[in-house]
């Protein structure tokens, strides 16, 4: 007979060996008018995993992560995030769930009427209302140190370069300690050196913040550098799901067109 301690140990061991899905999407469909963008998408994001979603422009990658955070409403299917179905949540519940998710927008989406400090303080002052000004200041400085831009704290977004804007936007997503990170085209519009820096930063964030991430991209270098697993979307459907090495070895012309 198993003692309670044994059961607990087995469960802990099981969790370590078989990570639990933090996001589970089943049969997701989304159309805009007559155009069906997502057709029966099913996927899982496991705890501590970096999942890269690859696909051509217009294949529904961004729509997919916008459905996950409730910015877009899917037509049918289920999106379970921490065992809660996003499609059935009310505004308050959705807001609570969003506190656990960080989202890096393709454009950065920095609030252009606010300084970098105000951009970072904005979510913090509204999510963690019990924090004092000193604690908020400390948190803002810490997260800026992580992205290497402490000196830019009093700058306006218009004074920042593209790469700096991405880093500040990343810092803003991280400031409330999210458990899941969703990256929408993190390296688009950046030079190869800055793209590589952002890819390294994504890996560092995974380690230091223990996040699980979905990275939407069509940048193969970024995908190979950050991915634990890759899902390729084609015409709104999951075309292939596998490890980066599987994609590298594949002779499938659709996959090769990306990896060449």
């Amino acid at each position: 007979m198993k003692t309670e301690e044994t059961v607990e140990l087995t469960e802990t061991f099981h969790k370590k060996i078989v990570p639990e899905p933090v996001i589970e999407i089943s049969n997701l469909q989304k159309s805009f008018g007559k155009q069906q963008v997502l057709k029966n998408i099913s996927l899982k994001l496991f705890s501590g995993e970096n999942l890269v979603v690859l696909g051509k422009s217009g294949s529904g990658k961004s729509v997919l992560i916008k459905c996950i955070v409730g910015l877009m409403t899917a037509d049918s299917g289920t999106i379970q995030v921490f065992d809660k179905n996003v499609l059935t949540l009310n505004l308050k519940e959705l807001s609570e769930l969003r506190q656990k998710i960080g989202f890096l927008f393709q454009s950065g989406a920095l609030y252009d009427s606010m300084t970098v400090r105000q951009n970072l303080e904005f979510p913090l002052r509204r999510i963690k209302r019990d924090l004092t000004s000193a604690q908020i200041n400390e948190k803002v400085n810490l997260v800026l140190e992580h992205v290497g831009l402490v000196d830019s704290i009093n700058k306006m977004p218009s004074q920042l370069s593209g790469g700096m804007r991405k880093r500040i936007s990343l810092a803003r997503s991280l400031v409330a300690d999210p458990m899941i990170m969703l990256y929408d085209e993190p390296t688009t519009g950046l030079d190869p050196v800055t793209s590589d820096e952002i890819s390294s930063l994504i890996n560092e964030i995974k380690k230091s913040y223990k996040t699980s991430s979905i990275i939407i991209t069509h940048d193969i270098k970024c995908a190979l550098k950050t991915a634990d697993r890759i899902i390729m979307l084609l015409d709104g459907e999951v075309y292939k799901d596998g490890k980066p090495s599987d994609f590298n070895k594949s002779t499938d012309p659709e996959i090769r067109s990306f990896f060449n």
Binding site: V69, S95, R98, S107, A109, I127, R172, A176
Partner: protein
């Protein structure tokens, strides 16, 4: 039960004219449906603004910032408009009053027309242009650049932060701007009266205010709060619900001005009718 056959199936044996007619009917039905959907959207938007206004965690700092932006930053434009409004009114009215030997009625006439009608409506129309378009363009560009989405995703209620503060600030500041424009309008009309006449400011003011009672003043103040609310709501609604392209920013700003100006006039007609019924 009667069975309706979809038009596509009918096409095979229907005349071209009947198909065209059916398609026109369908298009019109869809337009009517879109119109009803728009009304529902606007109603839901207004309900949500009201709900968020009375919710906890009101964004007071942003509200003060918007009061400054809407109120203080509009002062130069409103000053010029108010003064010119009074000046022109006095210059235009004087010859007609001279013909009837009633030039002494000039201060009273100008004051009543400014406070009752011209001050509120013209100032509100100017505000619809300046403030309504500003809100439409600002929120529209925030929508296009995904800043509103970023607020939503970070659990910071953009409706409370962006919309409620602007609507309340407009509702509070526009009546104050109207009163300010009325005051400057009377000073402007004194200047206008002095171009061809000679009247002291104190005499002009005492004659002007002796002709005004609460029945002139209160309805004008009440309707100016509605003007403010309409301008704020329309500007925010158009900007908040702007489309995705950069073109949408221009469309949002433009339609905010057009709709807000139109609604200011509609509210004015309703307010005048109500005042007329109550006073008589």
């Amino acid at each position: 039960m009667k069975k309706y056959i979809p038009i596509k199936k009918v096409k095979g044996f229907a005349t071209a004219q009947s198909v065209r007619l059916s398609e026109k009917t369908l298009a019109k039905t869809q337009k009517a449906g879109n119109f009803l959907t728009d009304i529902a959207d606007v109603s839901l938007f207004i309900l949500r603004v009201i709900k968020e206004t009375f919710s906890r965690n009101f964004e007071f700092k942003e509200f003060l910032h918007q009061c400054y932006q809407i109120g203080y930053k509009s002062l130069p434009l409103i000053s010029v408009t108010g003064a010119i409004m009074g000046l022109v009114l006095a210059i235009q009215s004087r010859p007609a009053l001279v013909d009837f030997g009633a030039v002494s009625m000039l201060p009273a006439m100008v004051a009543v027309s400014l406070i009752r009608e011209m001050g509120p409506v013209i100032t509100a129309l100017i505000c619809a242009g300046k403030i309504g378009s500003g809100m439409g363009a600002e929120l529209g560009s925030m929508r296009v650049t995904e800043q509103i989405d970023a607020m939503e995703v970070s659990s910071a209620n953009p409706m409370r932060f962006l919309v409620v503060t602007r609507v309340l600030a407009a509702t509070l500041m526009i009546p104050l701007l109207i009163l300010y424009a009325d005051g400057l309008g009377i000073i402007g009309s004194w200047a206008g009266a002095n171009i061809k006449g000679d009247v002291s400011l104190s005499l002009f003011f005492s004659q002007a205010f002796s002709s005004i009672d609460f029945a002139d003043f209160i309805p004008a103040v009440i309707k100016s709060f509605f003007f403010g609310a309409v301008i704020g709501l329309v500007g925010c609604y158009k900007g908040y619900n702007a489309g995705r392209g950069t073109e949408s920013v221009g469309i949002a700003a433009n339609s905010a001005v057009v709709l807000a100006s139109l609604l200011v006039l509609v509210v004015d007609v309703i307010a005048v009718q109500i005042t007329d019924m109550l006073v008589l």
